[in-house]
Symmetry: C2
Subunit: 191 residues, 2 copies
Amino acid sequence: MANTFRQFLSAIAPISDEEYSDTMSFFSERALKKGDFFVEQDKVCRHIGFILKGTLRTYYINEKAEEITSCFCTENNLATSYKSFILQEPSNLIVQAVEDTKLLVIDYQSLQELYSRSAVWQTIGRAVAEREYIVMEQYASVLNNETAKEKYLRLLKEQPSVLQVVKIEDIASYLGVTRRTLSRIRKDLNN
Amino acid sequence: MANTFRQFLSAIAPISDEEYSDTMSFFSERALKKGDFFVEQDKVCRHIGFILKGTLRTYYINEKAEEITSCFCTENNLATSYKSFILQEPSNLIVQAVEDTKLLVIDYQSLQELYSRSAVWQTIGRAVAEREYIVMEQYASVLNNETAKEKYLRLLKEQPSVLQVVKIEDIASYLGVTRRTLSRIRKDLNN
DNA sequence: TGAATTTTGGGACATTTGTCCTTTCAGGCC
DNA sequence: GGCCTGAAAGGACAAATGTCCCAAAATTCA
């Protein structure tokens, strides 16, 4: 079951069987039903989750009370409100399951415990932060440089499954345009 | 001279006098003249620099051969092409001094050496990555949610000195609009 | 210093995107 | 099945932004 997680870790730092089974006692499985929240608004995010199955959407509410989607999280990736988790402060981001989802989760205290116990986990912790940075840099570069149409095509290519489970409105806010503009883009692409 | 750097580190992790002077032997000072490159395009970024004095601009060249500015780096902050540095792969970002600049730099090998020597530096390394992540997340959220005018006002408030040293064109690309639109925004703000 | 070059501001028009709205379609529920 | 509700597509007009341009201002360098 947790094999994909082992692969995920091994891609970051070599980890022995012993270290792996030791650390796995810090993790637990968690199931979410469609619509359940993994991180709630204004609550401190206490967990990082590795997505075994399912899809989550990360969004925030702007001052016009609109939901702005910032991320779709899919299988074999991490889900968290990372800033809230790092700083252990209330989250302005909301993370919600858009379909039934299974996660492997670890809480903040346990992760700190792992960091202090093991150099391997220090390395993993840094590598995860670096990796999240790179993902975010890529996201920002795309936001800044690509048109909504290009962004849509990229989503279609990189996370096609997302289109099947989320609402058009959420994709529009993810692309930084209105529903109306996304409608025009989609019409355009069907010639 | 390097006092501000000591403060920068202390804000991340407690560091003793001994640890500080030990590790300082890994750093060296570097001066850049206006227009000099700190990171060149398609070369591996081998250094992280702490800006003692001056300003740098981070940008890339898009497929229309336009310079797109992604970051202005000011005093008491870090400058690097972080992704290239982490992965030690060629940088698509260019980092250039927009005025005479002094940095405290460390190269990749030395930093790895510090990581392996000292738990404090493991923690600093992770904290820096986390911090860079948070900055980037904030940047992406701003890009996605604020209008060009709001972004301009934010820049004015958070990095007013930048306006004195960089070209309008670079600010426009940083805001994600054309020079023409930034001109309209500025006219608007002067009533 | 003065000529050449670069940078900036803004006019005129074209294009894109947003706003507001109506219609159609699909799924859930009695 | 028929009704209700929410999601999606797209028409019509308004607003924002881009493109192309030129003239004025600032800067650079011989």
